[in-house]
Each structure stands twice: as C-alpha cells, then as structure tokens.
C-alpha cells in the first residue's frame, strides 16, 4: 500500500508539474496576479509529493520489501541500515528519483522566497523549473519506474553492489546532485529573464546566491567522489579523467565562471549576454552529463543504464532544453545593450580572462570526452583520449588561473593598476619562490611538482594579501586590526578562503609527484621500506561482517624505529553477489597519507601488498573543504541575502529597479 502511495504521489507530482509549468507562465504573459500566484503553492506541493514518493521507496528499502524489482536487485535483508538507505540512490531508477526530488526541492526553495521577488519573475522561474521537473518525472514514469512490482517475490535480494556499500558513496550522490541539479535554478532564472526580457544587474543579484549554493555542493560532491575513488579503487589515484568524472567537472568549471561573471554583471552591469549564456551552459552541461551517464552512449562499463529507450528519451530532453534556451537566447540577446565600460587592466578585465580560461578548460574537457565517440561514429576509427591528454591540455589552460587569481583581487573596478598590484604581491611572490625552492630541496624531483607547489603557495598567500592590506592599511595598531578584520564584509573573507582553497588543492595535487610506491609480496613478520617509514606485516586474520566476510592484514608503521600506528587494510567478500572489494588502510601523518592495499593472498600464505606514501595528499580534499567554507561565508554576507537589504532600508526600495510587490 505504501509503495502504491509512493507511485501515485509521483504521478500527482507530474500532474502538478504541468500545472506549475503552464499556469504561472500564462499569468506572467497576460499579467494576471492570481494565475501567477499558483506557482509557489504548486511548487511546494510538487516537492511534498516527490518527497512522499521518495520516502515510500526508502521505506520499501528499509523493510526489505522484495516484491519491488528495484529492491530485489539492489538490496539485501542483512545489509546495514545506512546502506539500505543509500541503496535507494545506488541504482538508475532511484538515482533519477533523487534527481527530481532535488529539482523540486530547489523549486520549493525559490517558492519560499517568491514574495521577495517581482511577481512575474518568480512565476516564470517556477514555470521553467517545472518544465524540467515534468520532463524528468515523465522519464521516470515511462522508462525507469522504481515502483515496478515483481511477479514473484523472492526470499532474499541480490544486494547492493558491494563497491557502493561505503559511507563515502552513501553521501556522495546527494551532495553531487545538490550541485548538479542546483544549477537548474540558474538556468530557470536565465530562461525567465529571456522570456520576460528583463536582464539587468538586479537579476544577477537574484541569481548569484543560487549559483553559489550549487557551486558549493558541486565542489564538495566532486571532492567526496574523488576521495572515495582514492581509498576504494585500490590504485591510489584521485582523478582518472573518466567520462563520468568529466561529466561533473564540466558543470563545475562553468559554474565557477558563472559566479565570476555574475559578479561583474551585478557590480558593473557588464557581461550581461555572456552571463546569461553561462547560466544556460552550466545546466546544459549538467543535462549532458546525465545523458552521458544514463544513456550508456559512452559504451563505458561505468554506465549501467544501457537501455537505448532511456538514452533516446534523455537525448530528447537534452535537445528540447538546450536547443530551446539557446534559441530564446539568440532571439533576445540582440536587444541587450552593452553595460558598464572598463579598461583591459581592471577587475572586470581579470574576471573576463578568468572566464575565458575556465570556459576553454571546460570546452577542452568536453571535446576530449566526446571526441572518441564522434570520431568512431563518423569514421569507424577508434582512438583513446586518456589522462595524459587531459593533464597536458587542461593543465596548460587551467594553471595560469592561479597566477591571475591574486591579481584579480588586487585590481580596482573599471581601471586597475597592474604595476601597483604586482608591487603589493611582491611578498606573495617571494614566499612562493622560497617555498618552491624549499619543496625542491626537501623532496627533490620532479621539478614540475616543485614548480606547481610554488604556484600553489603564490595563490594561497596572494589570496590573503588584499585582506591583509585592508586590515593593516591604517598603520600599525593591533587593536584596530581586530576591529577591521571583523568589520570587513563577509564576502571578502569568502573570496579569500575560496581562492586559497583551490590553491591548497593544487598544493596537494602537486605533491603527488613526490609519492612513493612499493609493490611487494609479504609474509608475517616481513618489513618493507616505504619512503620515510617502514611497514611490517604482523599477520592476517579472517573476520565476519554483517553481509560479508573479510580478510584483514595487520600492519605496523614505524618511523625511525618507533611504532607510530597500526593499519588494517582488508579484502571483503560479499556472498550475495560473489564479489570482492578492497578496503585501503589509510594513516594520515602530517597531511600526508600512508595508503596500503592488500589485493591478493597466495596459497602459500604470502600476500601481495601495494603501499603508497603520499606526502600532503590530504590537502587535495582539505582544499575543497576550504572552498566550500569560503562559499558558505560569502553566502552569509547580508548583502548577498536577497531582501534583507530591502527590509533594513524600506525607504530605499522605491528606487530599486524592481520593487517587490
């Protein structure tokens, strides 16, 4: 009964999405308030019904309802509760349901803020958002129904793919989707602006917080996925340039560019056409990613949905939304007048360069990902485009951003002083130089690692120079420093942290060049040297888990003869699917990690061991956390919070370009 309720709720959500997609938009076109007002409540109801549907599926998983095909194929009664829940989105149907849940969540959030927006803008945004919902709800109902019943209910399920039974992967998809799907809001805003024909600095003010939220979660989601791959897949890499990964990286790059161009649009009323284009592009790349992953077009073993019916359906969604929005864009963009003027050397100029490099990085990833497909389709010729290609090309385009970043923060709007900025950055440059030389002296080859580390130090120190100057600007007065530090706008702190964060990540990535790897065969008692540490195998034990059995190796790590810890890398065997996974042993020492995998046990009792010492590797993901934090602090800035400024200064609202009611 609960399952049928969930299914029915999904159908109701689809019906509501049609209402929400048509009525408010019609109201906006004929300027009828009562029709426009339908948008917000129907968005809230749509979210409620989608959530109910999602809750019903989750319930079916928790109680192991093996009359559902979806539950049979992805769950097991002995599975720990957390993986019963994460199993909901660990498959095609459930993850699409999560997709529309988050889509309607963002719709509901906009609906809650609708009172602070002009009526027609809110109505149009909610309508466009609902078209996307309607398309994907229909997709689920027609091709990917998670509520399909099995003719005969088996006693036991086939278990969730063991590789997905991991805390990291339990939270990775929701985080990533919050980012991925969050970009739908900026898309809806862009389409609404084009439909209403009102594209101005105020629009950028509405859009920027939503972009920031999506960007924050995208950053965190990508980092989480990267860390998961690092400790689960067993070969210690953190990024593989897999099409599935690229699918999430491209929207991230576009969203990062959008954040910066929306800033120019908000402050200077310039780059309007470009910002609208980026808003469309960012979500289009999310849709493209969904298509690539869900359709199986990559013929990638990673895409488990290889049903062509689904592929064609998503392709139609893709063509409709991308084509439609671009057509609208082409129709309306002509009418936009260029806004504020600026010299090439200025804050705007730096942000334009940022946008140029970010979009080219994004395009390079796109071309590299799709090129083999296109070439094979056109000429039957098969080529591979792998990590060596992406590292070289994307690296060359992306790395200059770290040089530009501190300069951008230093330059004034309209007309900047490059020489002055360079002088203020002398200190950062000096620290970077010393840092790079020190890294090279301590860790040695490769030179590229030291150079990148130096660049990272420049970006980190450079990120703080502006804030440091603003705090100490009035001469030496420690009491005033604290006051000024508190008095600085939060967005200044946010920018600084986000910029420093990506510098921190680069430092971690650069340091992978100094990693040490050992592949050895060990017996109990054997010792292996691993960079500055020595690792001893104490013994191997068998252990039973809830739905698996486990072979655990006990390893002691010593530094200069002193024991600093014990590690327990293991191999897990999942009986239901007869599959084995490896759980890496990880020990974090001074931001570096010892990473041990035990892939194989020989009949003679020895085990194969893969060991890595990766100095500073934790910085890669810590940097992402710092970026997330920076985004959050920016978001807390009251100037960014829509409506707050208006409530604080009610008299000023009359002068605003778009009065609230």
């Amino acid at each position: 009964m609960i399952v049928e309720t969930g299914h029915y709720a999904l159908v109701l959500a689809f019906a509501l999405s049609l209402v929400q997609g048509i009525v408010p938009l019609w109201g906006a076109l004929i300027n009828d308030r009562s029709l426009m007002a339908v948008g917000a409540p129907s968005a809230l109801a749509q979210f409620a019904f989608t959530a109910l549907s999602f809750g019903a599926l989750t319930y079916a998983y928790i109680v192991s309802d093996f009359s559902l095909i979806n539950v049979i194929e992805n769950s097991h009664s002995q599975k720990p509760l957390i993986y019963k829940i994460s199993g909901v989105w660990g498959n095609h149907e459930g993850s699409m349901l999560l997709w529309v849940l988050i889509l309607s969540l963002f719709g509901a959030l906009v609906a809650l803020r609708a009172k602070r927006m002009p009526d027609d803008l809110a109505a149009t945004v909610l309508a466009v958002q609902s078209w996307v919902s309607a398309a994907f709800l229909l997709f689920i109902l027609l091709t990917s129904n998670p509520f399909a019943r099995a003719a005969l209910a088996p006693m036991e399920g086939r278990d969730l793919n063991p590789i997905l039974q991991d805390p990291g992967l339990a939270i990775h998809p929701p985080l990533l989707y919050l980012g991925y799907v969050g970009l739908s809001i900026t898309f809806s805003f862009a389409a609404a602006a084009l439909i209403n024909g009102r594209i101005d600095a105020q629009w950028a003010r509405w859009v920027r917080p939503w972009t920031l939220i999506a960007w924050m979660f995208l950053t965190l989601g990508i980092a989480m996925g990267s860390y998961w791959a690092y400790y689960t897949l067993g070969w210690g890499g953190f990024w593989f340039w897999d099409p599935v990964e690229n699918a999430s990286l491209m929207p991230w790059m576009a969203a990062t560019a959008l954040l910066h161009s929306a800033l120019v649009m908000e402050k200077r009323d310039a780059l309007k056409v470009w910002t609208i284009f980026l808003a469309i592009l960012a979500f289009s790349l999310s849709l493209l990613g969904t298509f690539l992953v869900r359709s199986g077009v990559l013929t990638s073993v990673h895409s488990f949905a290889s049903d062509p019916q689904r592929g064609v359906f998503i392709l139609m969604i893709l063509v409709f939304f991308i084509g439609g929005s671009l057509a609208l864009f082409a129709l309306r963009a002509q009418a936009l007048k260029p806004g504020g003027l600026f010299a090439p050397v200025s804050r705007e100029g730096a942000l334009v360069l940022n946008n140029l490099l970010l979009t080219i990085s994004c395009a390079t990833v796109l071309v590299g990902t799709l090129y083999p497909l296109a070439l094979e389709a056109l000429t039957e010729e098969k080529i591979s485009v792998g990590p060596p290609f992406f590292n070289l090309t994307v690296g060359l385009v992306f790395l200059p951003l770290f040089v530009i970043m501190p300069f951008g923060q230093m330059l004034a709007w309209k007309r900047g002083d490059l020489l002055g900025a360079a002088q203020r950055l002398t200190f950062a440059f000096g620290v970077a130089l010393v840092g790079g030389v020190l890294f090279a002296a301590i860790h040695g080859e490769p030179a590229l690692a030291a150079a990148c580390a130096g660049l990272a130090v420049f970006a980190i120190v450079g990120a703080f120079v502006d804030i440091f100057g603003r705090i100490t600007g009035g001469g030496f007065a420690p009491a005033a420093f604290l006051r000024r530090a508190i008095g600085l706008p939060l967005s200044a702190w946010g920018t600084t942290l986000a910029h420093a964060g990506i510098g921190v990540s680069l430092l971690g990535i650069a340091a992978t060049g100094w990693g040490v790897e050992r592949v050895v065969s060990m017996r109990a008692g054997d010792v292996a040297e691993l960079g500055p540490y020595s690792v001893q195998l104490q013994g191997v034990h068998e252990r039973a888990g809830p739905n698996y059995s486990e072979t655990v190796a006990i390893m002691t790590v010593r530094s200069a003869g002193v024991v600093i810890g014990t590690m327990n890398p293991s191999r897990k065997f999942y009986g239901a699917r007869r599959m084995t996974t490896t759980d890496a042993g990880l020990m974090t020492i001074n931001l570096g990690q010892v990473h041990i995998v035990v892939p194989e046990q020989s009949p003679d009792g020895s085990i194969d061991v893969r060991m890595y010492w990766k100095p500073y590797v934790a910085l890669i993901w810590l940097g992402a956390l710092v970026m997330f934090l920076g985004g959050g602090i920016s978001l807390a800035d009251r100037r960014l919070r829509i409506g707050v400024a208006r409530r604080a200064k009610p008299k000023a609202s009359g002068a605003a370009p778009q009065p609230a009611e």
Binding site: G225, P243, S248, L356, V367, G368
Partner: protein, 154 residues
C-alpha cells in the same frame, strides 16, 4: 555519478583469478628499467577496460601487456621502440595520449583555436566599446543651448 565506476570493478572481478594491477612477480630487478616500464604502462590502455591504463588494471590482458612492455625493455628497446612495438600490434587505440595526425588534429588544436577565437572576440568587443565610449563633441548649437541653460540656472 561516480558510483558508476563500480562496473569497472564488476568487469574486473568477473575474472576470479584476476590479479590486481602490477604484481610483485612482474617487477624487474633493474629499478631504472622498472621505472621506465611503469611510466610506459601508464600511457597504454587496457584494451578490455574502459579508460584504464594497463598499469592500473587487474585484467589478465593488461598483465600480458605489462609483461610484453618489460620484455621489450629487457631486450634493449628504447621507450619509443616499445611504444612502436605495441602500437604495431594493437593500433592507436592502445595509446591513452592520442598521436597528432589528421583525425586528431581537431582534438589537439581545439584549446589553442578556442583561445585564439576568444581573444579575438574580446579584442573586437573592446574596440567596439571604445568607439561607443567616444562621444562626439558638442555642436555649436548644442553649446549655445547649454550655455543658455547654465546661465539661466545661475
């Protein structure tokens, strides 16, 4: 999205006897040769996997290819010679970094071409903006009107 990577493992684990990436018994005694072998392996695709180098893959075919690379190195081939040997047998598909030729020209040139286009567009719009910014000087009639308006206010 990353959870889809799981199928790589599914495939790999479909071979129960599969080894896991580089095994201890494969490693060459000469560390210099082994380093070269590892570097070469990282650029060669495991043909039965998707987007995995033979250095990372646990498929038996990847192991065979790793052994071939090491054999050629021990036979005295230089790096380019080993690559030629492998490409001659498996084609360009085996190279994770595609060679520059007629069919990959577009791929390799795209970042540069896009950069040039972007830069050109920026220069053009900057020039357009500059011409927009230059307001023509006031005509004689306009000046008289302005003077009149100003004197009236004063």
């Amino acid at each position: 999205m990353r959870l889809l990577r799981s199928l790589a493992l599914l495939l790999a684990l479909a071979f129960p006897a599969a080894s896991h990436a580089v095994q201890p018994d494969e490693i060459l005694k000469d560390p210099a040769l082994e380093t070269r072998a590892r570097a070469l392996s990282a650029g060669l695709r495991c043909l039965v996997c998707q987007n995995q180098s033979i250095d990372d893959s646990n498929a038996p075919l990847a192991r065979d290819l790793r052994l071939v690379v090491r054999e050629r190195l021990q036979a005295g081939d230089d790096d380019a010679g080993v690559m030629r040997y492998v490409v001659a047998r498996y084609g360009d598909f085996v190279l994770l970094k595609p060679p520059v030729n007629a069919s990959t020209l577009l791929l390799w040139s795209s970042p540069g071409v896009l950069f040039a286009l972007g830069l050109g567009w920026l220069l053009m719009s900057a020039r357009r903006r500059r011409t927009l910014a230059q307001t023509p000087p006031l005509s004689e009639a306009e000046r008289r009107e302005l003077d009149k308006a100003l004197s009236e206010r004063a």
